[in-house]
């Protein structure tokens, strides 16, 4: 049980407690703050997986933009926290059963496979390689351009949909 595994367990606790807080809490703003906590935990995972560029992108995009979007949507569409406004719908029990069953099936299958062991050292310069791969026509240039067009379409679409009449 070395230091990396202890850090992994701490990060798992942070991410999972955040996720549980999202789905359980009745107050929607609290759920949004727990979601931010979960995102930060997942960003810590990315650092542990030697993908630090993606960890910073996760914090920048998820915590810095998507969480703010969600909080704004909560603030702009506020139902006053009336007690008879139940948070869960009638099928919550079946949803719990389905999610738990899926989890059990996944874990049973996962633990039976003989996974490859990771190599200890990571080649340096992954960031430069990533940058070059995104603009290399043989590699990921098409994906990059399609993603930027997708973002443009989403931007225009969101502005048009949410506009005041």
């Amino acid at each position: 049980m070395n230091a990396t595994q202890v850090i992994f367990i701490i990060l798992s606790a942070v991410a999972l407690i955040g996720a549980l807080g999202v789905v359980v809490s009745r107050n929607l703003f609290h759920a949004a703050i727990f979601l931010v906590l979960s995102f930060v935990g997942v960003a810590g995972y990315y650092v542990l997986l030697e993908a630090e560029f993606l960890a910073m992108i996760q914090i920048l995009v998820y915590v810095g933009a998507i969480s703010i979007l969600i909080i704004f949507a909560i603030m702009l569409s506020r139902r006053l926290m009336s007690p008879e406004f139940k948070a869960r719908n009638e099928q919550w029990l079946w949803a719990l059963v389905a999610a738990a069953a899926l989890f059990v099936v996944l874990v049973v299958v996962l633990l039976q496979v003989n996974w490859p062991v990771a190599q200890a050292n990571v080649p340096d310069g992954t960031l430069v390689e990533l940058g070059k791969a995104m603009v290399n026509p043989d590699q990921y240039l098409l994906v990059f351009e399609v993603a930027s067009v997708l973002l443009l379409v989403a931007l225009v679409g969101a502005v048009v949909i949410a506009r005041e009449r």
Binding site: I33, E52, M56, I59, L60, G64, I68, I71, L127
Partner: protein
């Protein structure tokens, strides 16, 4: 003599040797030296508050031809300590129907991102918290974390003015983050690395001389991100009555206060690292590396003086003008600057060795052309507004 010249690095090595001599295993020595490093950085951050609070009030007061605070010890230099004692002795009030958990959480998560940035700022050739190879991306990500803390503060007070101020916070901070990121990208294109120490090492000529447009845009955006005047509508008394900080008193208000000044100092050091050459000073950092923290302090003090100068000089900007300025003026300008720096860096790639001052000269020339074209376009737009018939009618009626 060698010990004195290399003082900070030698001090660290001697302290670690001491810990090894006490028989501690390696992981314990690393842990203790990391914790001591963190404590030193936090103390430097908070000392910034103690130094810059009285400095701000004295400097602005002198610019307005009045003495400023001069009661607390010679020349009023311990004013921050007096403010701290005052704030500690105030009653801690939580509004009745406010969300207690959120109300108490907000001051905590406001100070944390402000202090986290100090981990990647270089104080010398080998004196840095941790030289991440994505240093500037870390700074941008932490700056975007700051916004969530302010929303939590605004929401948790159960006060309509607080909530309205939280909306405006998000608007302003998100709008000014984009020109900031474009300017950082221009700098990264020139220095070909994202680590802050790499950027300082790559500046044979300070980038402010090469790209004054990017430097000014970054300065204005950093001031807007730190809620400084003339863009501080969110906390001005005549505008939003202290904005998201309305319902806070005592030590919690002090945390917001500290977070703002720590943020300002961090922004000044970032500007001096990215644009003014960091710890370099015409070769002094090679001759006497002990002076590099002093050089960093001097440059960031100059940048803070410029920020205080802006505060004392300009009136406050109206909010829609503020946000329109960011989106309609600074984003296109920063984008044009980014395109030009990409062209200047990448085009002479065939001939491998281009002198850095040739590249810098071409970039400076293109920046001056950008400034000339911008002023020309603004002049034409201003003349069109002046010639508008509606304005002529109003002016005629007045006469």
């Amino acid at each position: 003599m060698e010990f004195i010249l290399n003082f900070w690095v030698e001090l660290g090595a001697w302290a670690q040797g001491l810990l090894y001599g006490w028989g501690l295993p390696e992981w314990a020595v690393n842990l203790i030296s990391d914790i001591v490093g963190v404590l030193i950085l936090v103390v430097i951050g908070i000392m910034a508050v103690l130094i810059f609070t009285p400095m701000e009030r004295k400097v602005i007061a002198r610019m307005q031809d009045r003495p400023g605070p001069n009661r607390v010890w010679p020349y009023g230099l311990l004013q921050a300590l007096a403010d701290a004692i005052k704030m500690l002795t105030k009653e801690d009030v939580i509004p009745t129907r406010a969300d207690r958990a959120l109300h108490m959480l907000a001051p905590l998560i406001v100070a944390i991102p402000a202090l986290l940035v100090y981990a990647v700022l270089p104080w010398g050739p080998n004196i840095i918290g941790k030289d991440l190879n994505i240093g500037v991306l870390f700074i941008v990500a932490i700056a975007s974390f700051h916004v969530i803390a302010l929303i939590v503060a605004g929401w948790g007070s159960n006060n309509k003015y607080s909530l309205l101020s939280a909306f405006r916070v998000v608007n302003q901070l998100m709008a000014y983050e984009i020109p900031m990121v474009f300017c950082i990208l221009s700098v990264v294109l020139f220095s070909k690395t994202m680590s802050t120490q790499g950027i300082v090492e790559a500046q044979t000529i300070p980038y402010f001389v090469i790209m004054p447009v990017a430097g000014m845009i970054f300065l204005i955006s950093a001031m807007a991100e730190a809620n400084r005047s003339p863009v501080d509508l969110l906390e001005a008394d005549s505008e939003m009555v202290a904005g998201y900080m309305i319902e806070y008193s005592g030590m919690k208000f002090a945390m917001f206060f500290i977070a703002e000044y720590v943020n300002m100092f961090a922004a000044a050091i970032i500007i001096s690292t990215l644009f003014l050459g960091g710890y370099k000073f015409f070769g002094l950092e090679n001759a006497a590396p002990v002076l590099t923290p002093v050089i960093v302090f001097a440059k960031s003090a100059f940048v803070i003086f410029c920020m205080l100068w802006f505060r004392a000089t300009f009136p406050r900007v109206r909010f829609d003008h503020l946000v329109g300025f960011a989106w309609k003026f600074m984003v296109p300008l920063a984008m044009v600057n980014l395109l030009l720096s990409a062209l200047v860096v990448k085009i002479p790639v065939g001939s491998a060795n281009v002198e850095p001052w040739v590249q810098g000269g071409v970039m400076l020339l293109s920046n001056l052309i950008i400034i000339a074209v911008t002023i020309f376009i603004l002049n034409r737009a201003a003349r069109k507004i002046e010639d508008a018939p509606a304005l002529k009618r109003i002016v005629a009626v007045e006469r």
